[in-house]
Symmetry: C2
Subunit: 313 residues, 2 copies
């Protein structure tokens, strides 16, 4: 892969983005001027609202505030009746910070204002743009801000326009990066998804996309076997490297199995490669068993293909 995007040019656009975002956050926070709170105070309030009864130290750390500064802010809040400082249960040095009803009301008011602002900005975007935008935010959050994906916020949905391409792209670049396969694999995936759309029978077939905040994290297909009407084929199970370890693969396969049962299939088969060991664990856990292995040369590599089956009684 020729490095048309060098580390240096990536760093340059990163810095440019940071400058622009500094400016942007500056204009956003200007709205605090019409408020009784400063930006720092607002951040503290928000922190108290989202984390139940934290110690002052924790708040100072997560927000990067000076302990002394925070102490003064909290005194002000206490005087205003927004916060109570309760000595911690097992440590008389520490205090647990709790919002009063009045404090909660203040947070609600701030939230409303901030939500309005965010809405106003996003309202100018088309749905397509908004999806791209959200996905971009999530990407940045995960790559440089160290944000973790919250498994409970992952949703499974059916395919939509643009999804087939995303599937081809993810699998194409993913397997090249991880296993060095050549682009004939990407072409194969493109053909599979084209066939899926062309022959799609909603009662007998389905595609699931796992996503969070518009970010495509994984997918799987269940299709009718071309020759055997009672058999379904599970195809193109994929979980993005960024989302591994969340049980997404299990969730996707479980979805396939229950759909297949509901559609009265008697069997599910799938074809996979011996090197994809992470996937095997998922198939095994779902009750599939390996029924056949065969070496072949594909995608520029010597591989061993495997057929797995699950009987649906």
């Amino acid at each position: 892969m020729p490095a048309t995007l060098t580390l240096t040019s990536a760093a340059a656009s990163f810095r440019q983005f940071n400058r622009a975002y500094t400016r942007f956050l500056g204009t956003l926070s200007d709205s605090y001027l019409s408020t009784e709170f400063s930006l720092a105070e607002g951040r503290v309030l928000y922190e108290l609202a989202t984390h139940a009864g934290p110690q002052a130290k924790e708040v100072a750390e997560t927000l990067g505030l000076d302990a002394g500064y925070l102490s003064r802010i909290l005194s002000k809040f206490e005087k205003a009746g927004l916060v109570v400082r309760a000595t911690a249960a097992h440590d008389n040095r520490a205090t647990n910070l709790l919002l009063t009803a009045r404090g909660k009301a203040a947070v609600r008011k701030l939230n409303l204002r901030a939500d309005k602002q965010a809405h106003a900005i996003l309202a100018g975007l088309s749905e397509n743009q908004r999806a791209k935008f959200s996905s971009a935010l999530a990407t940045i959050g995960q790559t440089v801000l160290g944000q973790k994906i919250d498994p409970s916020s992952v949703i499974l949905r059916s395919h939509r326009p643009g999804d087939m391409g995303a599937i081809v792209s993810l699998e194409g670049s993913g397997y090249v990066e991880q296993f060095g396969w050549d682009n004939s694999f990407e072409a194969l995936v493109a053909r599979i998804v084209a066939d899926f759309i062309a022959a799609y029978d909603p009662d007998r077939e389905h595609c699931w996309i796992a996503e969070v905040d518009g970010q495509h994290l994984g997918h799987v297909f269940l299709v009718q076997h071309p020759d055997e009407p009672d058999t379904a084929k599970l195809r193109l199970l994929y979980v993005d490297p960024a989302a591994r370890g969340l049980g997404l693969g299990h969730k996707l396969v479980a979805e396939c199995v229950s759909f297949a049962r509901a559609a009265h299939y008697r069997k599910i088969t799938l074809w996979t490669q011996s090197i994809l060991t992470a996937a095997h664990r998922i198939y095994q856990a779902a009750g599939f068993r390996l029924v056949n292995e065969q070496p072949h040369h594909s995608f520029g590599k010597d591989l061993v293909g495997q057929t797995w089956e699950l009987d649906l009684l």
Copy 2:
């Protein structure tokens, strides 16, 4: 399109991102502590380094600084010999701000430090991640920061793993959004790119991707006509809505034409739709002429297909 990504949830993740990025920029700017400059001073210096001889007012506006505050910063810079304030040519009230050699040296030093920092963060990412990251930055910059694409920074390159999928995705969601086509169009594109990879002859065929900072902005294919060896087909010309008006389409078509000439084709043909008027102007400008029109029903719509040709003498 079911709104699994509502405006409200998009706004929520937007706000969460802003909070996280505030924190991130805070840690980034901590590095200014070991510097003789404050963050605001650094921003001013950078602004002076990138824009030749601006007025104080312009700097104050672009950075969102108070005029008085800026004036004091500039006085400090002048005293330190980093900046000279020259009365503007045609307005004796205004001053043009110019960095001295010493000022430029200071900027270089700051840049070096910031570059190191950015490099350190990006060095932990794989090339794939870095490309996604850069592209995400660009997306955010364009959608909410109002950044414009710099036409001179657009590069044309050959296809790489993951590109075919991106092409399918862009065209699939793009034409759905703009013209309401159904997903059989996405399937058609998937089949075309699959065929391209399968039959690819590098001497006779080519795919160009237009990108900036890893962000895919457009593409085009030139392939051998299946029946006529002397004829090339131009296919899948696409320019992302975000990148229209930059002459990207012209650039991509010109690339095709010159490749076709070099490969000794005698003719280029292409098939397009009557509603794609923006593309027609590009073809016309490149010397193509409309040779045939035919109504057809595809992608869920009644369309009029057009064949265009260019003779390459």
